[in-house]
C-alpha cells in the first residue's frame, strides 16, 4: 500500500504529472506577462493533453508502429524512474550511493529516444530535427554533466539525497559554485529544448523537428515526458545547488516550492530574452565557452574540496 502510494501519488506519477502541468502553465503565463499578454488559464496544459489524447493517431507509411509507440513510452518511463531517485520534501523513495549517475543516465534516454523518433519518421523535417537534436546533445551534455558533478565532488558523495542533506543548515552549493549553477541551468535549457535552444524543433526551420510526424496520444505522451523532465530537472538542481529541503517543517515544503518557482522564472526569462541560436553557434558556445568554464569550475571545486 505504502509502495503503491509512493509510486502513483507522492512523489510518484500523480505528483510529478501535476507539477508538470503546473510548471508548464506557470511558464506560459510568465512568458505571456513578459510579452504583454494575458496567457492561458490554469487548466490549459490539462486541456491540451486531453485534446491530444482525443485526436486521431496518424502513422505515416513506412514507420515501424511498434517502435514509434515504444519511443515516447520509453522516454516517459525513464523520466518517471528518475522521479524515484530525486528527493522531494526530503523523501526519495529509493536512494543509494551513485544514484546521481543513474539519474543522469536516465535523463539522457529521452534525448536519444527523441533522436530516434525523428530518424525513423522518414520525413525530411524529422531527419533534420533528429540530426540537430543529436548535435545539440553533444553540445550541452558535457558541460551539464561537469556542472552537476561539482556538488557531488564537493559533497564527496554521488548520492543526491546526501548532497542535498549536506547543504541543510550550511551554505548552499549555489554560493560555492555559482558558475556551476549557471552552466547547469544552460544545460537544462538545452536538454529540455527550450527557447532559446529549441533548435531541434524550431518551427520556422524544421516544422516540428523529430516529432513532426507524431500526432494524437503519442504526441501527448511526448509532451508529458518533456514537461515531466522539466520538473525533474528543476528538482535535481534544487537538490544539488539550492540546498534541497530545509529542516524546519514549514520551510521544508514551502521553501522547496519557492525554489522551484525561482528556477521556472529563470527558464521563462531566458526564453523571453533571447533569439534562437543556430546549431553551429550552440556548438561553439558549448565547446568554446561552456565546457572550459565547466572545467574551471570543476578544478576550483576539487581544489576547494581537497
Amino acid at each position: 500500500m505504502q509502495t503503491a502510494f509512493t509510486l502513483l501519488i507522492f512523489p510518484g506519477l500523480g505528483f510529478i504529472v501535476l507539477c508538470a502541468w503546473l510548471f508548464d502553465w506557470l511558464d506560459r503565463r510568465i512568458i505571456a506577462r513578459f510579452q504583454g499578454r494575458v496567457g492561458p488559464p490554469w487548466y490549459q496544459p490539462v486541456a491540451d493533453f486531453i485534446k491530444l489524447l482525443a485526436k486521431e493517431d496518424i502513422l505515416s507509411t513506412g514507420i515501424n508502429p511498434a517502435l514509434s509507440t515504444a519511443l515516447p513510452v520509453l522516454s516517459l518511463a525513464s523520466v518517471l524512474t528518475v522521479s524515484l531517485y530525486i528527493p522531494v520534501a526530503r523523501t526519495a523513495p529509493v536512494s543509494f550511493e551513485g544514484d546521481l549517475i543513474v539519474v543522469l543516465f536516465l535523463l539522457s534516454i529521452p534525448a536519444l529516444a527523441y533522436f530516434l523518433a525523428g530518424w525513423i519518421s522518414g520525413g525530411v523535417y524529422g531527419i533534420l530535427g533528429a540530426n540537430r537534436s543529436l548535435l545539440q546533445y553533444f553540445s550541452y551534455e558535457v558541460p551539464f554533466l561537469m556542472a552537476l558533478s561539482g556538488p557531488a565532488i564537493l559533497g564527496n558523495s554521488w548520492r543526491i539525497a546526501q548532497i542535498a542533506q549536506q547543504q541543510v543548515g550550511t551554505t548552499w552549493n549555489l554560493a560555492l559554485q555559482p558558475l556551476g549553477f549557471i552552466l547547469a541551468v544552460v544545460g537544462l535549457i538545452g536538454k529540455l529544448k527550450r527557447d532559446p535552444l529549441d533548435i531541434p524543433k524550431a518551427k520556422s526551420e524544421v516544422v516540428g523537428g523529430s516529432l513532426t510526424e507524431y500526432s494524437g496520444r503519442k504526441l501527448a505522451l511526448w509532451h508529458l515526458a518533456m514537461d515531466m523532465q522539466t520538473v525533474l530537472g528543476i528538482f535535481l538542481l534544487i537538490n544539488l545547488f539550492l540546498g534541497g529541503t530545509s529542516a524546519s517543517p514549514l520551510w521544508g515544503g514551502l521553501g522547496f516550492v519557492l525554489k522551484a518557482l525561482g528556477i521556472v522564472l529563470l527558464l521563462s526569462t531566458a526564453s523571453v530574452l533571447y533569439a534562437r541560436l543556430r546549431i553551429d553557434q550552440l556548438a561553439n558556445l558549448g565547446w568554446r565557452v561552456l565546457a572550459p568554464l565547466a572545467l574551471m569550475q570543476l578544478a576550483a571545486t576539487i581544489w576547494m574540496g581537497g
Binding site: V124, E205, A275
Partner: protein, 362 residues
C-alpha cells in the same frame, strides 16, 4: 550523412511562411546547396479583372492586391487615372493620402519586424511589435473606418476629411507610439542574439542590387540610395523634409535597422503632414470616361517602388492594367541569397526581404 543530399520543401504550406510560395532546398547536412522557387499560388487574376470593371470599381479591386499596403496600391492607381484625366487634385487630398501612406509604412515595417522576430524564435519582439502596431491601426481606423482596407481614395481626391480635434487625437496617438518604437530600434541595434542571427546573413552587394534592380528597404540596406518620395518630386513630399535611411552592410540586420529607422522617420513625417495640412476641398469631380492614352504611375510603397501601368481606350473601363510590385524585385534574388547558407538561416533570409506573395502573384 556528409554526402547525403536531402530535398527539403519549404512551402507552399510551412510554419515559416505567412503566404503560400514554395521553395525547394537541396540540403547537404545543414547547408543549403541549391534553392528552387515556385510561385503563383495566390494568383487572383486581378489585372484581368480590372479590365471587366469601371475605373471607379477598380479602386476597390487594386486595394485588395495586398493586405498590408492596400492604400498605396489605390493611391498609385488613382494617381495614374488622374494623370490620364489631366486632373490636379487638391493639396489637402494629397496630404491626406500621404498621411495614410506614411502610417501604412509604419504599420508594414512593424508587422514585418514581428514576423522576423517570430521566425528567429524571438517571440517577444513579435508580441511587442504587433502590440505597438495596434496604435497605428487605430489611427488608420479613425481616419478611414478600416484597419486594413481603407477605401479612402476616390479618383480626384479622398473620401473623408479630418478636423482640428481629430488631428490632435492623431498627434496624441503618435506620441504613444514614439517610445515603443524607440525601444524596438534599440532592441534591433543592441540585442546580441538577434544580431548573431541576422548579421552577415542574406548578404546582397550593391552590384547584385543593381543587377536585379532591387528596390525599397532591401536596396537601401545595401547602400543604394533610392527613395521615390525624394527622387520623384511630387506634392506633398516636396514640401516636407525627411531623411532617406541607408545602410551599407547589406545583410538582414541592416535591412531590419533601415526599416525601423524608416518607421521612426515616418512618424516624424506624419507629424509634419498634420502640422502643414493645407485648407481646402478634399476632392474634385472626375469624369467617368477616361480619354485614350497610357500612363505609368509610381509611388514608394513600404517595400519599395510600386509601378502601375494603365492604358485607356476612351471607355469606362481600363483597357490594360499592369502592376509591378516591389516584392517581385526582391523575390528573384532569393535563389541566389539562399545558396550556400545554413539551413537555420533560411528563416532569416526569407523574412529579411519582406515578401508579400499576394502582391507578387496578384
Amino acid at each position: 550523412m556528409k554526402s547525403d543530399k536531402m530535398i527539403i520543401p519549404i512551402g507552399p504550406q510551412h510554419p515559416l511562411l505567412k503566404e503560400p510560395i514554395a521553395f525547394t532546398l537541396t540540403v547537404e547536412g545543414e547547408r543549403v546547396m541549391e534553392a528552387g522557387m515556385r510561385m503563383g499560388y495566390v494568383h487572383r487574376g486581378i489585372e484581368r479583372l480590372a479590365q471587366e470593371r469601371s475605373y471607379v470599381q477598380t479602386i476597390h479591386l487594386v486595394e485588395r492586391v495586398c493586405g498590408i499596403c492596400s492604400h498605396v496600391h489605390a493611391t498609385t492607381y488613382c494617381q495614374g487615372v488622374e494623370a490620364l484625366l489631366g486632373l490636379e487634385i487638391p493639396p489637402r487630398a494629397q496630404y491626406l493620402r500621404a498621411l495614410l501612406c506614411e502610417l501604412e509604412r509604419i504599420h508594414s515595417h512593424l508587422l514585418w519586424l514581428g514576423v522576423l522576430g517570430k521566425n528567429l524564435g524571438l517571440d517577444t519582439i513579435f508580441m511587442y511589435a504587433w502590440r505597438d502596431r495596434e496604435i497605428v491601426l487605430d489611427i488608420m481606423e479613425d481616419l478611414s473606418g478600416g484597419r486594413v482596407s481603407h477605401a479612402i481614395n476616390v479618383i480626384g481626391g479622398v473620401r473623408s476629411d479630418v478636423d482640428e480635434a481629430h488631428c490632435d487625437e492623431i498627434l496624441r496617438q503618435l506620441d504613444l507610439l514614439t517610445e515603443p518604437l524607440a525601444r524596438l530600434v534599440g532592441l534591433v541595434e543592441h540585442e546580441r542574439t538577434l544580431k548573431a542571427r541576422t548579421q552577415n546573413v542574406g548578404h546582397l552587394s550593391l552590384e547584385q542590387i543593381r543587377r536585379y534592380c532591387v528596390v525599397g528597404p532591401v536596396a537601401r540596406a545595401s547602400g543604394l540610395d533610392v527613395d521615390l518620395r525624394r527622387d520623384m518630386p511630387k506634392a506633398p513630399y516636396t514640401d516636407l523634409s525627411f531623411k532617406v535611411i541607408t545602410h551599407t552592410a547589406g545583410d538582414v540586420w541592416a535591412r531590419t535597422l533601415v526599416r525601423m529607422q524608416e518607421a521612426v522617420e515616418s512618424v516624424r513625417l506624419c507629424r509634419e503632414i498634420l502640422a502643414q495640412l493645407p485648407d481646402g476641398p478634399i476632392s474634385v469631380k472626375a469624369k467617368r470616361r477616361v480619354p485614350p492614352g497610357e500612363v505609368v504611375s509610381r509611388a514608394e510603397a513600404p517595400r519599395g517602388e510600386l509601378i502601375y501601368y494603365i492604358r485607356s481606350d476612351g471607355s469606362e473601363k481600363p483597357a490594360r492594367l499592369k502592376i509591378r510590385t516591389p516584392t517581385l524585385t526582391t523575390l528573384i534574388t532569393l535563389p541566389e541569397q539562399l545558396r550556400e547558407v545554413n539551413m537555420a538561416d533560411v528563416p532569416a533570409v526569407l523574412s529579411g526581404v519582406d515578401l508579400c506573395i499576394a502582391c507578387a502573384d496578384r
